[in-house]
Symmetry: C2
Subunit: 365 residues, 2 copies
C-alpha cells in the first residue's frame, strides 16, 4: 500500500536475491526504516522483536526465514533446526506453524542442491498467496460496508477496529483493513475509529499511520472509548483481525478484542472478524481454554517510547515506581459474540458449521 505516495509491501526479496527486506515496524510511526534479513537468525529475531508482526506476516517472515536457512545450509539437520528455531519465536499466531509446515513439506523431499532456490520460490509464492487472500477478504468484506453505507441517511460509515490487522500485519492490503481500503478506493464515505491498543499501541502507531498514508479518514481513541461510542450510535460495525481462530469460531486476537465484542453485542453493533484460512486452527474448539496466550515482558506496560517535541526518540516510565505489572498479549472472543467471519472464501457465521461449509476439506468431520 502507499507510503509517502510510493507503493510498498511489508516484506520483499532484496534486489541481490541474497536477503529479504522488511519495514521495521518497531520504528513506526516516528521513522520509516527498512531492515535487511540475511539469515534464519535475522528472521527469527525480526519476529521475536516484532520488527515484523501480525499473524499472516509472521507466517510469511518465517517462510522466508526457512529460505534463508536453506541458503546458508540446505541439510536436513539445518532444516529441522531452523524449523525448531522459528516455531519458538511466538506462541499464539497459528499462521507461524502453518507456514513452517508448508515450507518443510515442500523442501524436505528435495535434494539439498535445489533447496535454496525452491525455498525462495515457495516463500515468494506464499507471500503472493497472502496478498491474494487479503484481496479476496477485502472484496467479501466490502459488501458489508456497502450495505452499511446504503442504510446510512447521512455521514460516513463508522468502522471500529482494534490493534493492527492492516497491511502491516500481512504482506499487503491487510485483513480487517482490506474491506476498508476497498470501500475508500471506491469512494464510499468511511471513517475508522482506531483503538490505540495498549500496551504496544499498534493502533495509534501502525493502523493510524497506514490509514493516514492512504488517506482514509480516521480518529485514534483510547481503548476505553469504544463502548461509549457504541452506546451513542457512533459505530456502524466493528472489524478486527485474528491471531488464531478455532474450528468452532472462537477468535483469539490482540488483548482487549473481547471487551469490544461485548460492547458490540450489548449495543447490537455487528462485530466481524477478518481472517485468512491459515489463521484457523482446525485442531482446537474451545478458544478460551485451549489457545496459549503469550505473556510478554512487563516493560511494554511500564515504559513507552515516542518522539519529543524537538524530535528525539525517548523512552519514559509510566507506572508508579516499584509497582508490579502484568502483560497478557491476547484474549479470546467466544464465537457467540462474533457476527461473522470474513474469509477469502466468503463470509460465514462464527460456528463449526459455518467454517465447515467454507473449508470442507480442512474441517474435522
Amino acid at each position: 500500500m502507499k507510503v509517502n505516495g510510493g507503493l510498498y509491501r511489508t516484506i520483499w526479496l532484496a534486489d541481490d536475491g541474497q536477503a529479504v527486506e522488511i519495514i521495521d515496524q518497531t520504528r513506526l510511526p516516528h521513522e520509516f526504516v527498512t531492515a535487511r534479513l540475511s539469515s534464519v537468525d535475522d528472521a527469527a529475531r525480526a519476529i521475536v522483536t516484532m520488527q515484523t508482526r501480525g499473524a499472516p506476516l509472521i507466517g510469511i517472515t518465517a517462510a522466508y526465514g526457512m529460505a534463508l536457512a536453506m541458503a546458508q545450509d540446505p541439510s536436513d539437520q539445518n532444516l529441522e533446526a531452523s524449523y525448531a528455531k522459528l516455531i519458538d519465536t511466538r506462541p499464539t499466531a497459528i499462521n507461524l506453524r502453518w507456514a513452517l509446515d508448508q515450507m518443510r513439506h515442500a523442501i524436505a523431499p528435495l535434494e539439498t542442491k535445489v533447496r535454496r532456490r525452491a525455498a525462495f520460490d515457495r516463500a515468494g509464492a506464499m507471500a503472493d498467496q497472502d496478498i491474494d487472500r487479503c484481496r479476496r477478504i477485502g472484496a467479501n468484506g466490502l459488501t458489508l460496508i456497502e450495505a452499511a453505507a446504503a442504510q446510512k441517511k447521512d455521514g460516513p460509515v463508522n468502522v471500529l477496529t482494534h490493534c493492527n490487522a492492516g497491511w502491516l500485519a500481512t504482506v499487503d492490503w491487510g485483513t480487517a483493513t482490506a474491506p476498508i481500503y476497498m470501500a475508500f478506493d471506491k469512494g464510499i464515505d468511511i471513517h475508522v475509529w482506531v483503538d490505540e491498543t495498549r500496551p504496544r499501541n499498534q493502533g495509534a502507531a501502525l493502523t493510524a499511520w497506514e490509514l493516514g498514508h492512504h488517506g482514509v479518514p480516521h480518529t485514534v481513541i483510547a481503548d476505553n472509548v469504544g463502548g461509549h461510542l457504541m452506546q451513542h450510535g457512533l459505530v456502524d460495525l466493528c472489524i478486527t483481525g485474528s491471531d488464531r481462530t478455532t474450528a468452532r469460531g472462537d477468535v483469539c486476537n490482540k488483548i482487549g478484542t473481547y471487551l469490544k465484542a461485548l460492547a458490540a453485542h450489548d449495543n447490537n453493533v455487528p462485530f466481524y472478524v477478518a481472517l485468512p484460512g491459515p489463521t484457523i486452527d482446525w485442531t482446537l474448539d474451545d478458544g478460551v481454554s485451549e489457545i496459549p496466550i503469550e505473556q510478554r515482558d512487563g516493560v511494554e506496560v511500564r515504559e513507552i517510547s515516542g518522539r519529543t517535541a524537538d524530535g528525539r526518540i525517548e523512552t519514559i516510565s509510566l507506572v508508579a515506581p516499584g509497582s508490579p505489572v502484568a502483560n497478557y498479549a491476547f484474549d479470546v472472543t467466544p464465537a457467540r459474540l462474533v457476527t461473522g467471519l470474513i474469509t477469502e472464501r466468503g463470509i460465514c457465521p462464527a460456528s463449526a458449521d459455518g467454517l465447515r461449509r467454507l473449508y470442507p476439506q480442512q474441517a474435522k468431520t
Copy 2:
C-alpha cells in the same frame, strides 16, 4: 493515608490559615509535590488542570475555593461570580454542584463580615464529612471482601479497579479503595488489579502509587486485560468509583468502566460501585442519554509524560503524525450491569428502589 510513611490528606488548610494546600496530582507518580491555593482562581485552576481530581475531591476543592473567594471579597456579587467560575470547571462530577450549593446556601444568609470565617469552617466540615463517608463506605464494602475471602480456598481475594477512586480522589481513604485498605489493614490476603486507565493513566500513576505507599499488593495492567482475567477466574470482584450516579443507579465513571462491567456480567464476577451520597444526581434517571460527558483535549491521547531512565520528565508523542484523536473522559454503565452500590449508608441494589431505601429524603417520590 501513607506517603513515605507519613500521613497525608489530599487537601488541608495551610498553617497560616490564609490558603489551602493540596497534593499536586499532575506530578504523580514521579514527583511528590504540594501546591498552595491562595485564591478562588487558584482553586478553579487546580480543578481545571486536574491538580486535584476525583468527584469527591473536586467538590471539596470547590468548597475551599468559595472560602478563598470570601477571604478576598465577601460580597454577594463575588459569591455569585465565584460560584459561576467554579461550577464551570468540570462538567461531569455532580459533587461539584452539590458542594457549591451547600456553600452558597450556608454563606448567602450571613453578613459579609462573618462570611470568610464561616466559609472556611464550612469547607473544613465538608472535608471531615467526606472522610467520614469514605470510612463508612470502607466498612460497608469490607463485608464483601470478607465474604469473598471466606469463599476462597487459597490465594488472595483479587479485586479489579479502574481509574483512581482512591484516597487521592477524595480527602482520605477513597471510595473504591476504602474497603481495600480496610481489608488489608485487617490482614486479609488481598491483591488489586489496577487498570492503567488511559489516556491520563490515573490507575498506573495514582492508584498504583497510593496502594504501593500503603503496602497493598497490586499489579498494573493495560485497560484491555480485565476481560481476559475474568474469563480465567482471576478476578473475584470489581470495585470502581463514580463521578455521577443517577436516581435509578446508572453509573457514570471514567471512560472504560462500562467495558469492565460488561466483562464482569459475562463472567459472573460481582461488579460493585463505591460512592458517597453527594455523587448521586437525584434529578436524572437515564445516565446514558442524560449525563453530560466531558470531552477533553486530544493532547491527552496524543502525548504522554513520564520519567526517562536518567530521571528527566519528558513528554512524548505516541500517535502517527497527522492522525486526529478524540478524548471522551467518561462513560455510563447501565444499572443492569451493576451488582450493587456501596454507599456510606450501606450496600443497595443499583435501582431506584435500592437508592430510595437508603436515601428516603433525597429520592423523588
